[in-house]
């Protein structure tokens, strides 16, 4: 087996990425390719009265303008039962699909559900002609009253995610607790803003579709296209070799994919869609605004007696998304009395979706801010409070953890940071003009796993190719899977090739929820283990005797060109254990006393995420999560104009993500953790946990520095003046 901390191999696709050789979806320039440009709705609610396409059609190079007025009816989306008599009605029932907006098949009618809805597309011979054509399309509407303010409709929350969780009597326990915190916390709309905009190149050949898509979930896109366009799944070939960041926003099939494929079919040419940065803010998901009440009741020793976590988040009627901000509530502290629920309020806003650590990220902001408030109310060290309430078993169901090293994370992080030297008094630490603040918070994210398949083929020259459909958005999948294969087969990693990002390869799940390493890794491990055994069997030897040279020797000896094995990895039906990654952040902020911009001076973050396959790529993923957490804490907010129903700062200058200058010292501690129960390879997944807890750790440090408790993100200068 591999060591708990895998070697820091350089990325196997590194050379391609530093030479411009990595081809992303929109970089497949096909013969005779046309370009499509979207037209977005400009009202939040109503119907389209007219679409004047005359000027657009006259414009140079425009081939077609497509909208509900001339688009054919598409089949039902996966997850939506087809109505009798509708195309696709004969198909078997589908599982929940990944179509982002099951109630809004593009161009199916004249209804407008939010500003920015894709209501028409202009196809032209060049990118400039298409963009100009889209500007020339004139749309008139009949507006209907829109629901735009979450506060106004807060009584109409719906528990779409069926999230209600109760344990004991939370209200009674809270009422009788001697020390209490009861506060409202808010997180704003945020956008993923991957560097690469969502983009596709779609090409039809008869009733076969080839689609280059920047996707986190190619097999679901395949299924969605199959259903919508009424062709067998086998006719749909999705390719996604390199994805320029996603963070959840490329997990669902968004309307532009359907529209681009539709357009390619209608104009009978390959079509490229490359959304503009502005368009990304409207129809490709966002982390929705939340408002959360956290009520904590404790005894004077700090033992939590009651925890209530409730509130609301924005969603809409055309998607199925609900922000599950109470998911961490059930996993983080030992509390006997709990009530947690995360309803949605449906509004005329674009569809939200999962964004890095959905649920946990906003949820832990509220919980961990409240814990800090409780520590001050108790006059207790915030770290000590967390130790007092450490959950030795999963609070939700009492199951034992497959492994948990949170206490080690606290201890090692605190030690490296120097937490014991903290003067708890707010405004007590200074450096020149700056107030210095130290804060901490816990982090957690579940260790998910889904079925996945892989095929391993060894050639007589001793080289091995791994085939599995999965994705590479920068997490290092291609690298760590190559390492895992090499380790399992006992060969040098240079002899492994990893093929992925293609629906003709064995199926894998969505690359999201920190589950790629666990899911795909279990399949790769299984396939390689089986391959090794098969080769041993061919020669009638003990698999334990197989070494790097055995493959060449045995295949040559038996005149075999290649030998292969496939493995379909499935998580067990019943998990006897609770599986969860944990961590802890320690933050120092510096805040000028007069001009209180918050700067994160240094962070120490310790994580226990099971086995780490590659110390280098893992460290980068942790950094990435943490830096997005710094953005969430201090910079990121998509402003929404409640009168006009539109997001406003819809560009990359006024929607601010951290720049290089915003990031100073970050120390990552990877606490070694061996876990034989979580899955065959002992990994828990680390893509999300980095961001969880960063915002509250910073907010807590800001309180320590200034004495001001900021309960609504981001922590901008005006909130500290």
């Amino acid at each position: 087996m591999m060591p708990p901390l895998g070697p820091p191999l350089d990325r196997v696709d590194g050379r391609k990425k530093v030479t411009g050789g990595a081809k992303f979806a929109a970089e497949h320039n096909l013969e005779n390719m046309a370009y499509a440009a979207m037209v977005m709705s400009t009202i939040p609610s109503g119907t389209i009265r007219s679409i004047d396409t005359a000027a657009a059609k006259r414009s140079t190079g425009v081939i077609a303008v497509i909208s509900h007025l001339n688009a054919p009816r598409l089949g039902p989306a996966p997850g939506q039962p087809p109505a009798a008599g509708q195309p696709g009605a004969a198909a078997p029932p589908q599982q929940q699909g990944n179509f982002a907006e099951p109630q809004l098949i593009p161009f199916s009618d004249n209804k407008v559900h939010y500003v920015g809805q894709r209501i028409a597309v202009v196809v032209a011979d060049t990118i400039e002609h298409a963009a100009r054509g889209a500007e020339l399309v004139k749309v008139t509407y009949d507006e209907t009253p829109a629901r735009l303010d979450m506060q106004q409709f807060r009584e109409q929350g719906v528990d779409r995610a069926k999230s209600l969780f109760t344990k004991g009597d939370a209200d009674a326990a809270f009422a009788s607790a001697s020390v209490k915190i009861d506060q409202i916390y808010r997180t704003p709309h945020e956008h993923h803003n991957p560097m690469e905009a969502h983009s596709i190149v779609a090409a039809w050949d008869g009733d076969h579709l080839t689609l280059y898509d920047s996707s986190q979930n190619i097999f679901a896109v395949q299924q969605t296209m199959s259903r919508l366009f009424g062709i067998p799944k086998e006719n749909v070939h999705i390719l996604s070799q390199f994805v320029g960041g996603a963070f959840g926003s490329k997990g669902s099939t968004w309307p532009h994919v359907v529209i681009g494929v539709l357009a390619a079919r209608m104009v009978n040419r390959p079509v490229k869609v490359f959304l503009t940065r502005k368009q990304l803010f409207f129809g490709n998901g966002h982390r929705p605004e939340t408002q959360q009440r956290v009520a904590l009741g404790a005894n004077p020793e700090g033992k939590l007696l009651a925890m209530i976590h409730e509130g609301m988040s924005q969603s809409n009627d055309v998607c199925t998304y609900a922000e599950r901000f109470v998911r961490p509530t059930k996993a983080i502290y030992a509390v006997d009395n709990m009530r947690a629920i995360n309803p949605i309020v449906s509004l005329n806003l674009p569809s939200p979706t999962y964004m890095r650590a959905p649920g946990e990220s906003p949820g832990m902001f509220a919980i961990e801010s409240a814990m800090d408030e409780l520590a001050y109310a108790l006059k207790m060290d915030p770290l000590q409070l967390r130790l007092v309430n450490h959950a030795d078993v999963n609070p939700e169901d009492g199951k034992p953890w497959s492994s948990k090293s949170l206490k080690e994370c606290y201890a090692q992080g605190a030690d490296k940071f120097g937490w014991s030297k903290r003067n708890p008094e707010p405004r007590s630490m200074k450096s020149g003009r700056d107030l210095i603040g130290w804060g901490m918070a816990s982090a957690t994210y579940p260790a998910h796993r889904s079925p996945a398949s892989a095929r391993a083929v060894v050639k007589s020259d001793g080289t091995v190719t791994i085939y599995t459909g999965t994705h590479e958005m920068g997490m290092g999948t291609a690298t760590v899977m190559s390492q895992l294969a090499a380790e399992t087969l006992g060969i040098p990693v240079e002899r492994v090739r990893f093929e992925y990002g293609d629906t003709t390869l064995p199926p894998t799940p969505i690359s999201a929820g920190s589950m790629t390493a666990a899911s795909v890794g279990s399949a790769v491990f299984g396939a390689c283990d089986a391959l090794k055994k098969r080769v041993a069997e061919i020669d009638g030897v003990d698999p334990a005797t197989i070494n790097a040279e055995s493959y060449h020797t045995i295949l040559s000896k038996h005149y075999l060109d290649d030998v292969e094995a496939r493995f379909d990895a499935k998580p067990p039906q019943q998990e006897p254990h609770a599986t969860q990654a944990f961590g802890a952040h320690f933050v120092e902020v510096a805040i000028d006393q007069d001009i209180p911009v918050v700067r994160v001076q240094r962070m120490v973050s310790a994580f226990a995420g099971g086995r780490i396959l590659n110390a280098k790529t893992a460290r980068s993923q942790y950094f990435g999560g943490i830096i997005q957490g710094i953005g969430m804490a201090l910079l990121e907010e998509t402003h929404f104009d409640k009168r006009l129903g539109t997001f406003t700062n819809v560009n990359f200058a006024e929607y601010m993500v951290p720049t290089n200058a915003d990031v100073r010292s970050i120390d990552i501690i990877m606490v070694p953790e061996e876990d034989h129960d979580v899955n065959p390879i002992g990994v828990k997944g680390i893509g999300e946990i980095g961001i969880v807890g960063v915002a509250p750790a910073i907010a807590n440090a800001v309180f320590h520095a200034t004495g001001k408790r900021v309960r609504d993100l981001p922590i901008t200068i005006e909130k500290l003046m």
Partner: protein, 328 residues
């Protein structure tokens, strides 16, 4: 983007002629014009490339420095004359935009750059008096955290985005303009216009005219000057508030001062009231604060930008304190 024809001119005279045609616009760096053309906000039918016009010199001239309109921001920022005699100009450039943009953008173009107001730039279907005169202002009752508090009107509260223009306004810059009718000079402080009822008219540059150079006079205020910019993000962001300050000191006595504000005005905001409050006073924090109060009396806040009033005051106090150094 609307179609246009493209010509490259090599002389001021031919450029001006080409630029005088209806619908013509000059392009230098392109960092603002191309962006706004993509936004469907700028619609030139003729684009006149002036990059080959010889206007890229920085020269010591009697009484000051003359800067060609096509000098790039990055070059001006590190020019020895500027670093030595006009630190506020250099500093304002180095905290502008990004290294790449500074390599492209010209000094003339920088002074001409247009507001970042999202209703103007991105949300082209919404009312905006600057983009579509008479349609109304979406920002006054809308999302206006970044909007102006000085020089606003009922028609527009859009912030002028330039950093350089603020330093130029403080240091009494003078622009030379060349048009079909010849050459003329305009003080930088008169070049940008208040929105009033005509927010679409942003500056005193007639159609066909181009900026050919910028003169900045030498002087004690220029030599002892600085630029302080406050922003949310550590880099690559427009100002929340900014102060360009210049002091002529006699010991701790302020003989006279030059002050301009950025991030808060509908134009680069020369702070005459602040200057008046500083002149003849000792350089002390109380005097600085009083100067800030004097200037900000006329500030008008909207729903989300009231913080800028106090922040601007503190920004000025900090800028002056740092500039006065040991004497304050």
């Amino acid at each position: 983007m609307q179609p246009f024809d493209f010509v490259r001119e090599h002389e001021v005279s031919t450029a001006v002629k080409a630029g005088s045609r209806d619908g013509a616009k000059f392009i230098a760096g392109g960092t603002n014009l191309v962006d706004l053309m993509k936004c469907d906000v700028e619609h030139p039918t003729h684009v006149v490339d002036i990059n080959a016009v010889p206007l890229s010199k920085v020269e010591q001239v009697p009484g000051g420095v003359r800067i060609g309109a096509l000098v790039r921001m990055s070059d001006l920022a590190v020019h020895p004359l500027i670093v030595k005699n006009f630190p506020a100009i250099s500093q304002s450039l180095l905290v502008s935009a990004s290294p790449q943009i500074r390599n492209m953008a010209s000094i003339g173009g920088n002074l001409m750059q247009r507001t970042r107001c999202p209703y103007f730039r991105e949300l082209t279907w919404t009312p905006c008096n600057k983009r579509n005169p008479g349609s109304g202002c979406s920002a006054i009752e809308g999302e206006n955290r970044l909007h102006a508090i000085l020089g606003t009107s009922d028609a527009c509260i859009a912030t002028h985005p330039s950093d350089l223009a603020v330093a130029v306004a403080a240091l009494d810059g003078v622009l030379t303009l060349r048009g079909p009718k010849g050459e003329r000079q305009v003080n930088a402080t008169d070049f940008h216009l208040l929105p009033g009822n005509t927010p679409h008219i942003e500056h005193d540059l007639k159609h066909g005219e181009m900026i050919t150079s910028l003169f900045i006079p030498d002087g004690p205020h220029a030599k002892r000057s600085s630029y302080l910019k406050i922003r949310d993000r550590a880099s690559f962001e427009f100002a929340l508030t900014a102060a360009a300050v210049g002091l002529d000191l006699d010991g701790s006595l302020i003989r006279s001062a030059r002050v301009a504000f950025g991030g808060v005005g509908t134009k680069p905001w020369r702070a005459k009231f602040a200057e008046a409050a500083l002149g003849g006073q000792r350089a002390t924090p109380d005097v600085f604060r009083a100067a800030a109060e004097a200037e900000m009396k006329s500030a008008v806040a909207h729903r989300q930008n009231a913080y800028k009033i106090e922040l601007m005051k503190r920004t000025l106090v900090r800028a002056l304190s740092d500039l006065a150094g040991g004497v304050a």
